[in-house]
Symmetry: C2
Subunit: 580 residues, 2 copies
């Protein structure tokens, strides 16, 4: 493509409403423009990137044996009523009426539509497994759309849905999708991790998220430095410390800690490390109910004990029996009433509540904790000597340096951007919609389902979050809008430069390489800045001065320096770099 | 693709709600399924056809220099308010609110969005011309969606919008789009015509529709048998008959025609041909108004005279000065009151109304017409002898056999399905939205615009309307879901058949040919019927009996008979047929 023949819509100023780097660079490099909150138009260079991502996703989905279909954006309410999601989905579901007053929604996801299709088209186990995917526009009416294409309202997604007669078959397809996603993100040239994810409220048996690692990610990912193990921090198991607890030392004593309400206050006051303390959080217990489901008796409280330097993991805590869901901290008044002190002075010694102790806290000896008396803490507390240790659970977020739960290496923690999610749904949708097949014995069985999503447009943004510098984007070659930029210096004034540029442009284009030939009547500085901002991986600069010696300049987008090469070698150099 | 690995969703029964053949066959061949009124899911085989159409459209648009973009489906009301279409568009525009109560619509077309983009991105004549296109989902809330994909509510369209500093530049791009569309429909393998179209209420200077010729089309197309000339019947000029009028004969006389109210009645009664009669239609004239725009005086009537065998063309009549727009027939009471007879007995002789005579009617001699007296007609009427001939216009629809207005050949009339439309919009949108550039003199000028649409999903249906027989679809090779079907007879029982099928399947697939290998455990009759219903252009049948002699069967989808060929020649035969 000649730059003069396409829309190079680069801008110098960072747009005021763009908070994250990918949003800033997508505007500045002329990839997208905002139409309205959360709605973006893809400009020519941006669309090329989006299509490259789509192509790789499609090729690998096809290779996996999945069948491509295309379902409507607009979906009738009736199907969503069958699964109950019409009521449950909330305001992210954009609802509308047609001219006859019938209710529809803009599809944020297509479980209902595909399940309706398949219950009509597939009726025997012999037709299974079957895996259908589409690459389609989705709409989610986010309450506060932001971060540009990272969390827009209208976006492009690849969603796939698999159907199975039994669990084992679902597990096989799930594994095949896991492998396919691994191939896709590898081909996209991204540093990613497949992480064990929470199956959340949908239920189901297994789930992995695929995250692109980037400092701006919204999720914390814990992963082993020595194996493939990776999990959302919420999901990563904090394993019990190895070895015996240190022996108990001095006798327990009370110390006045006036004004010390937090772990930081206490450690500063007592000149100790936070690993030598435990903190005690009070949450609501499960409300006892009578046989009619009516709440009876007083609201019970439960104490959770974690080491002073650790964070309570709410998802893990919520899964403990005896604790109310969703996890709810007791109010200051409830604590005052039942324990007799403020939250900052609670400790497990003598506490008349069910107490659950985190594995690491349970390994502490001679620790400091609140005295259940305002203004006082206890020193040299020891489990089993000073207080019972009845129930131990994994209650905390893992931290960097923890041993990996896979048994190999230690955990590192990085931020990730979720770009894919695979899920064993089980029968959540097929049961509600009565999607059955005849099994080998001629019996009707409800199909098992899996679902597999990739945020196609979000990948474009995530790739930038992972690959940029102060000059702009640094595209992985596989998704770059153009693989090569040819910059002619004063090409509109020099016939020799124009001729050399045209010849190389033709030669590379004939190999199917996407080349942007910057033939604009612009100053060299503007051309260099634009090609770098747009992130084109390889650049050849052709000018009169070099041509006299038969030389041109090559620079890879990530390189710090130019390299002089013979014009006659330019073509081969690019072919080498692209490893074609 | 192996048939066992994809969804072959053929059905025997013609669906009850499918009125047209393309809708019936798209359901029966398993290309689409209905989700709700006017909403369809594309199944794997159907999507392959849709993608083939998209690919050809995209390749030719790219070749024309148009730039691909992608605009959102959901559009903010504000832009539509700027052009006034938010009010004007009517119920086909599907409107919705987001969670904050802001108004949006689902885009039925994107003039507003692209004009908004371009007024921000382009500010100099040096950046023009620029032509942007997208292939995107559109939504029109049709009052009665029908004919399947021919007139759905959600559909795929290619829409392009060009921007220009002057009229001449617009005309050049318009011509380039005309040529591009001609290449596209030629490559799609369709019998089509580019027809001159009415620019309608939008105004603008020129417009062509591209029609696929098919008996089920909704539009009548008139075209020359000897040139490229083609026009919508409403737009085709009926040129004046050649030569002098025949000389006047016998004197005018009155004849009693009791009960004869129509041309058919009169010609039967008088044993004459309808070409020897004229009919007179009375319509409302332009209401005289005073300087304040208030209607004054009596409603004037105007008489329109066309030959008895011709049809009044309302669009042509409406364009005549003196006639009210929209064209409105006078009521029986108005006619009775001003002329004194019923509509069936009107004639131009002695009529005290402005009278406009069609060119062919003006060429009649010795004709029959109403006597303006109930129950009587006049014989041997002659213009200029018996009544004045003041105003002659083109008032009628052309008919087959009329001389072509291009001067070459005579007109034929066929039905067409509109699949493309190109339009010189002028400044309709750019003026309303203040989309200007600086011209060569540094003056702000409003950009001229063109728009160019192709109904991508409708093409799939139109191709079927033009290409089918009693066994199913007959795809043009360029858009067929598969170019070749390999049918193994009892392949699951015969190792020799399986081996031969697999070898040919591999050989053809390696050439990039889309092959459907029907490896299902089905009876041969079912396989043959499915492959024919699905319209696959070339079929190779491999069975044990033939293999003993080293022979297989070839049949083109349009052929009446099988052809025995050597297995060793099967590959070359297909390559030859596909002219690769």
């Amino acid at each position: 493509m000649r730059a003069s023949q396409t829309l190079i819509a680069t801008v110098k100023e960072t747009p005021a409403d763009a908070e994250v780097i990918s949003h800033q660079l997508m505007i500045r490099a002329g990839l997208v423009r905002k139409l309205a909150s959360g709605l973006y138009t893809w400009l020519p260079a941006g669309l090329k990137v989006l299509r490259n991502v789509e192509r790789i996703v499609r090729e690998e989905m096809d290779r996996s044996g999945a069948m491509e279909v295309l379902m409507p954006v607009v979906q009738p309410a009736e199907l969503w009523q069958e699964t109950g999601r019409w009521q449950k989905y909330g305001s992210e579901l954009c609802r509308l009426h047609d001219r006859h007053g019938r209710e529809f929604c803009l599809g944020p996801t297509h479980e209902e539509v595909i399940t309706d299709l398949i219950r009509n088209e597939i009726n025997s186990y012999k037709q299974l497994p079957a895996n259908f995917y589409q690459i389609q526009t989705k709409f989610r009416d986010e309450v506060r759309p932001r971060f540009g294409l990272m969390r827009g309202r209208e976006f492009t997604m690849k969603d796939a849905y698999s159907f199975h007669a039994d669990e084992q078959c679902l597990e096989q397809t799930y594994q095949s999708m896991y492998d396919t996603y691994t191939r896709i993100f590898t081909r996209l040239g991204l540093d990613f991790r497949a992480v064990i994810a929470d199956t959340g409220s949908i239920g189901g048996n297994a789930s992995h998220e695929f995250h692109v690692l980037a400092a701006s990610g919204e999720d914390d990912i814990a992963f082993s430095d020595s194996s493939d193990y990776a999990a959302n921090v919420e999901m990563a198991e904090a394993i019990a410390p190895q070895g015996e607890r240190a022996p108990a030392g001095d006798k327990l004593s009370e110390v006045a800690t006036p004004g010390a309400h937090s772990i930081a206050d206490v450690t500063e006051l007592l000149k100790i490390d936070s690993t030598q303390t435990v903190k005690t959080l009070i949450v609501l217990g499960q409300q006892p109910i009578d046989e009619k489901g009516q709440a009876i008796g007083e609201q019970l409280l439960v104490a959770l004990v974690v080491r002073g330097d650790h964070q309570l993991n709410e998802i893990k805590a919520e899964k403990c029996s005896a604790i109310a869901s969703p996890l709810t901290l007791a109010s200051d008044e409830q604590i005052k009433q039942q324990i007799g002190c403020a939250p900052g002075s609670i400790g497990p010694v003598g506490l008349e509540l069910e107490t659950i102790v985190d594995r690491s806290a349970a390994h502490c000896s001679n620790f400091v904790c609140g005295a259940n008396r305002d203004g006082y803490h206890l020193l040299n507390v020891n489990w089993e000597r000073d207080l019972p240790l009845a129930r131990i659970e994994d209650l905390r977020d893992v931290v960097a340096g923890d041993p990996s739960p896979c048994g190999q290496g230690v955990l590192d923690i990085k931020r990730g951007i979720e770009v894919g999610h695979i899920f064993q749904l089980g029968t959540t949708y097929s049961e509600a919609m009565n999607a059955t097949v005849l099994d080998q014995n001629g019996k009707q069985v409800v199909m098992k389902m899996g679902c597999y999503g990739i945020g196609v447009s979000r990948i474009v943004a995530a790739a930038i979050e992972q690959n940029y510098d102060d000059k702009g984007i640094i595209w992985p070659t596989s998704i770059a809008p153009y693989q090569v930029a040819i910059v002619g210096l004063n090409n509109h004034k020099s016939a020799a430069v124009t001729e050399a540029c045209e010849a190389l442009y033709r030669q590379l284009s004939e190999q199917g390489i996407e080349v942007l030939f910057d033939d604009r009547k612009e100053r060299p500085g503007i051309k260099f800045a634009d090609m770098e901002l747009m992130g084109i991986p390889h650049r050849i600069v052709i000018g009169d001065r070099g041509l006299k010696e038969g030389m041109v300049e090559y620079k890879g987008r990530g390189d710090s320096d130019n390299q002089d090469i013979a014009l006659a070698q330019a073509f081969d150099t690019i072919i080498d770099k692209l490893a074609i």
